[in-house]
Amino acid sequence: MKRLFLLAAAVAFVATPAFAQDTITIGFTDSQTGPLNVDSLGQQRGYEYWRDEVNAAGGIKVGDKRYKVKFVSYDDQSVGGRVQQLYTRLVTQDKADFLFSPYSSGLTAPATVISEQYGKIMIDSGGAEEKPFETGNKYLFMVITSASHYLSGAVDALKQKDPNAKLALVYSDDPFSKAVLAAAAQQAKAAGLQIVMNESYSPSTTDFGPVVNKIVSSNADAFLGGGHYSDGATLARQMHDQRANMKWMSILVAPSDDKFAELGPAALGVTVPSQWELQVNYKPQFGPTTAQFAKAFQEKFHAKADYHTASGYTVGVVLQHAIEQAGSIDTDKVAAALNAMDITTFFGRIKFATDANHHGLQVAHQMVLAQWQMINGKLGRQVVWPPEAKSADLLYPIPAATQ
């Protein structure tokens, strides 16, 4: 009899939830297939990791209610037309309350047509280009620093170390790299640095021999450029093999991958602009510290957190903070909270532009410059710029190739 009673109680418990559980649905697409699939994964892990953490802590607090976070996501195949189809579905069929961005500027722009049309907030961590923010959107917000500021730190550091440096700008002919280097060229000119070479190469280049010869004969002593992993790594290796003996090397993207250490001596002294590094130590007003984030991530995924993951996680943190500040999940109230936001997270300070011509663009977060140095006899990255965030001194000039 007692057993029967217990059983009935258990059934009753399962059948009628004790607390009506409210959920917030967040929709996004990720590029599981197509050319962006590698880069997209880090961001997706960041999103999912944030969701798990929030739900484990009881959910997002809105007034005296708590909302659990539910994700709906699809594979966009790295194709813009698919993005619009799927975001429409996310909004109309899956009833997403909020949206996260796909990976890359090229996919975020088509998604924005849908999010703006339905008046849904979309937070973006995967596209660093500014153009989508100059088209008068109201509900798009970006947590990362935009492309035109990627190399500002490198230019500042170089100016301080050697105001007479001669720069070679050599970069991949893709939208992102071109935007970054175009801005860097302007900043270098403004800083009084001399540019002796300014050229792009096809993204599919595999042999940089002729390019390196040209750099050497231009008498440059500082190099800024690169593009994606394979071309950046090959360039660094061939610069070393052909003894280009640069005093300064800044390469986009490639050196922020831990695989870059495989280059051995060719990696030494190479700097890379980064949205975030494990050594970055901001005092967060909201969310975890870098140490907590990195440790928990390592335990969960058995991999080191990188900036794609950190920015993906930050998207979640920013939305959570805005919802809690607004005390509501009403889109316009949350958008107002985002417009007013100025907080420091483990990722850095977050504040959005509110003027109509740049609305949603990130204006407070700063890039750091990381450099490959010998740490206890092993190659590793150290944050060297800006001075207030550094974990080691800047190595300048890069020690000449020996042998």
Binding site: Q85, G106, G136
Partner: protein, 323 residues
């Protein structure tokens, strides 16, 4: 032309177009509209490619160039010169058709594998040109402002209008395929497809016909490209000249049955619906490429004549009705 009205197939196309236009309107189902829009796009691309591939027997990997260039011209006119959408689309279609005619006289001297390779060359050349062409934004592409949808009554309304226009382009593509197939021009193309030398000896003006069909097959894809990229509010070279979309259009034609109008259209529809379903299905989403790959393999193995080849052999009478 009036003779076409007496053919049942004319009314079958009309019925399909009306069904496309009405289906999402009935339940105000925008999700369905977005899927059907991609279906209509695939049908347009595959049907026009079929004019080259199915009728004249020329494998054109570069059909996507028409789509991409059309997109660029339209987006450029809308963005830089504030042109309204419809004139931009017409100029895009005519411009790309004209270019294709000039290109066509050049590369259509090649045959077989050489022609196929040359069309890949055309993609690369056009893409390299656009990547370095500053008025079109170079490799960064062009982002359109949300303002462009204002003249069409705001984005929500504009997407409906774009959808109906895309369905119209699809309908025109089907009628074009049908009209050419039943014309003397089409007969000449089929002859070229069978044996080009024999056709030439029998008096078919082969090089003129080939250049003409190349140019005609560029017109509607260019307009579809204009609509598609206007809708995306963004265009960049890697999306506009995506070789994989070209290849998909080829595959779709083979699945449905090259040289038929119905088969290619149904092939395109089923292919895109299948991809869309697999992508969003909770069961298959994680291995959608595996499933679609296996299905394609099975179809090619067991239905080498494509869908229409199978239907024609099972139900020979359908040959009289379904083109």
């Amino acid at each position: 032309m009036l003779l076409m009205l007496r053919r049942p197939f004319f009314w079958i196309i009309a019925l399909a177009v009306v069904a496309f236009a009405l289906a999402p309107v009935v339940g105000n189902d925008v999700s369905m509209r977005e899927s059907l829009l991609l279906d209509a796009l695939y049908i347009t691309l595959a049907s026009n490619l079929n004019l080259m591939l199915g009728y004249a027997g020329y494998v054109n990997f570069g059909s996507i160039v028409f789509f991409g260039l059309g997109g660029y011209i339209c987006v450029w006119l809308v963005n830089s010169y504030n042109w309204p959408l419809i004139p931009s689309l017409i100029v895009a279609g005519l411009g790309v058709s004209g270019l294709a005619l000039i290109f066509g006289f050049g590369i259509l001297r090649l045959r077989g594998a050489f022609f196929a390779l040359a069309t890949i060359g055309v993609i690369e050349a056009v893409q390299a040109f656009v990547e370095n062409f500053t008025p079109w934004g170079g490799s960064a592409g062009v982002y359109l402002s949300g303002e462009i949808f204002k003249p069409l009554g705001g984005p929500a309304h504009a997407l409906w209008i774009i959808y109906f226009m895309m369905v119209a382009v699809m309908g025109l593509s089907l009628y074009l395929s049908f009209a050419i197939k039943t014309s003397k021009f089409g007969l000449g193309l089929l002859a070229i497809g069978q044996n080009e030398d024999a056709a030439a000896i029998l008096g078919v003006p082969t090089s003129r016909y080939k250049a003409l069909v190349y140019s005609v097959s560029a017109f509607l894809p260019a307009i579809a490209g204009g609509l598609y990229f206007f809708k995306s509010a963004f265009i960049q070279p890697s999306d506009a000249f995506d070789l994989s979309l070209s290849t998909e259009a080829l595959v779709v034609g083979m699945l449905g049955g090259e040289g038929t109008v119905t088969g290619v259209a149904i092939g395109a529809f089923l292919y895109e619906e299948l991809r869309g379903y697999l992508l969003t299905s909770s069961t298959f989403a994680n291995f959608q490429l595996v499933v679609s790959g296996a299905l394609l393999l099975l179809i090619v193995l067991f239905f080498p004549g494509g869908l229409m080849g199978f239907i024609y052999s099972r139900f020979p009478r359908t040959q009289k009705v379904l083109e």
